[in-house]
């Protein structure tokens, strides 16, 4: 009996904690919206974050996008060959990249690179009293630290996804046409025939939403860090895990809504 009560107590506490945390994250989001529209809008910190989130993520996005497109072509080729449908490899790669893998993989890579950095940086600022120093100097930390990171992430994720989509298709083309000897004309023709502009745009909307999730969670975890260096490490890990899980969960619902 005690074991059952203990289990119910444990689950109850975990649910309450999750609901409370979701509420706090939403509260932070509302606060970001309020500070976003309150002048003055400072562009310099936004551009600085756009460089960090976007420009410096290009290499890793190109790498993951290219190899994902390549492996996708390889796998689908072996499957489609059984039905003599090798000509559909290009379209399958392009559709998978634009609708799903481009935005999701880009978001996961940026979470690992920039979302973790946001949590670590803000967490360090919290434990070294730099955030308190901002309050003391009558500068709001949400406006100064979180708004630029969130704006930069929402703006840059779609651009990175375009890069990922493109290199993924190029990777697929290389494997399909040059290694597996699929006819280049058919490869390209099926892509243009099957992939529609909506597939690309919906993928980019997903990417912007994922940018919101990864920056909001990264900033929330960093901003609420407690407990010194250990706390910064914990906040960073939690930010990456929670943001990655939320990206994958929200991906399902966005896909169900859009496609």
């Amino acid at each position: 009996m005690n074991f059952v009560l203990g289990a119910v107590d444990y689950v109850g506490r975990a649910v309450l904690h999750s609901v409370e945390e979701a509420g706090r994250i939403f509260q932070l989001f509302l606060s970001v919206l309020a500070w976003l529209v309150r002048p003055p809008l400072r562009l310099r910190p936004i551009f600085k974050q756009m460089e960090f989130v976007g420009v410096r993520s290009i290499f890793v996005v190109v790498l993951t996008g290219t190899f994902t497109g390549m492996v996708l072509a390889l796998q689908t080729y072996h499957g489609f060959r059984m039905f003599s449908a090798e000509s559909m490899v290009g379209a399958t790669v392009a559709l998978s990249m634009t609708r799903e893998l481009g935005p999701v993989l880009t978001a996961l890579m940026v979470t690992a690179r920039a979302g973790s950095a946001m949590a670590a940086e803000l967490g360090t600022m919290r434990v070294t009293e730099q955030i308190d120093a901002l309050y003391v100097m009558a500068a709001n930390p949400v406006k100064y630290l979180i708004v630029p990171r969130m704006v930069a992430s929402v703006v840059m994720l779609p651009f990175l996804t375009i890069v990922s989509d493109f290199v993924g298709v190029v990777g697929g083309y290389f494997v399909g046409v040059h290694l597996l000897r699929i006819n280049s004309g058919i490869f390209m023709k099926n892509i243009t025939k099957i992939v529609e502009l909506d597939d690309i745009f919906n993928g980019l909307i997903k990417a912007a939403f994922f940018g919101l999730i990864l920056s909001l969670i990264g900033c929330y975890k960093g901003f609420n860090t407690t407990g010194g260096a250990e706390g910064v490490g914990r906040a960073t890990t939690e930010a990456v895990v929670l943001a990655s899980v939320m990206i994958l969960i929200s991906d399902y619902f966005l896909t169900a809504l859009m496609f």
Binding site: T124, M125, T128, Q130, A133, A138
Partner: protein, 248 residues
């Protein structure tokens, strides 16, 4: 200048402040002493509105800051400067940008005027010409001096010091003490210092108050505190392990 009236604050079940009453006089340096972890920093954070009390009032020039919204509180905060324990300089900015930060945020000045003020404040703390350095290139004592330059950049009327000499060698401790004395005098400041460094408190304090178990148990001039018969004060000043202060 600042009146702290019956402040109570608990974190969970732990009662940290249990009815603190203290008057901080204008143009003087008031030092709040007490054990490590005894609530001194918590009290200081209440004075500048970083924490809200569970009960009680904090009057700054007659205005109860515990009742203010964020916007009004920010107006009051412009009267304050604060030197944090580890200086809390922004890692991502140069020393010059750190000192210029409050000016760029709140003062309508040209870049040339801001640069001039930054140079003046750094000169005042004995660190001319370090504007281009990053905080990570500075020693602990230099960071604190830059922190003080940033705290006085806006010519505040009140400056709060959170354990300004903790972690410094004796020579740097004396240099910081002298700097606090000079800055207080030159800028006609009201200073609130929290410390448990016995030598420093008598060196810099015009008034000293002792916080113990969430209350101010003694306050007065340095001479009055030296002569105090309060057993808590006597044990604290002598550093004895025998007495009412429990060792946890």
């Amino acid at each position: 200048m600042i009146q702290i009236i019956d402040i109570h604050k608990s974190f969970g079940r732990q009662k940290v402040l249990d009815g603190v009453d203290l008057d901080i006089e204008a143009g003087k340096t008031t030092v709040i002493i007490g054990r490590s972890g005894g609530g001194k920093s918590v009290l200081l954070k209440h004075i500048i509105g970083l924490l809200k009390p569970d009960r009680g009032q904090i009057l700054v020039e007659g205005v109860d800051i515990t009742k203010l919204n964020d916007r009004d509180l920010n107006e009051i905060r412009k009267k304050f400067g604060m030197l944090f324990q580890e200086a809390a300089l922004f890692d991502s900015m140069t020393v010059g940008d750190n000192v210029a930060f409050p000016l760029r945020e709140h003062a309508r000045m040209s870049e040339a005027e801001i640069r001039e003020i930054v140079a003046d404040r750094l000169r005042a703390v004995g660190l001319s010409g370090v504007e281009a350095k990053m905080p990570s290139e500075l020693s602990g004592g230099m960071r604190k001096r830059v922190g003080l330059a940033r705290a006085i950049a806006m010519r505040p009327r009140i400056v709060l010091f959170d354990e300004p000499t903790t972690g410094l060698d004796p020579v740097m401790t004396e240099a910081i003490n002298q700097l606090i004395i000079d800055t207080q005098r030159n800028y006609d400041l009201t200073c609130v210092v929290i410390s448990h460094d016995i030598q420093s408190i008598f060196r810099i304090g015009h008034r000293i108050a002792m916080l113990y178990e969430g209350k101010i148990v003694a306050s007065g001039t340095p001479d009055e505190i030296r002569a105090s018969q309060n057993p808590v004060v006597r044990q604290f000043l002598s550093g004895s392990i025998e007495g009412p202060i429990k060792i946890i």
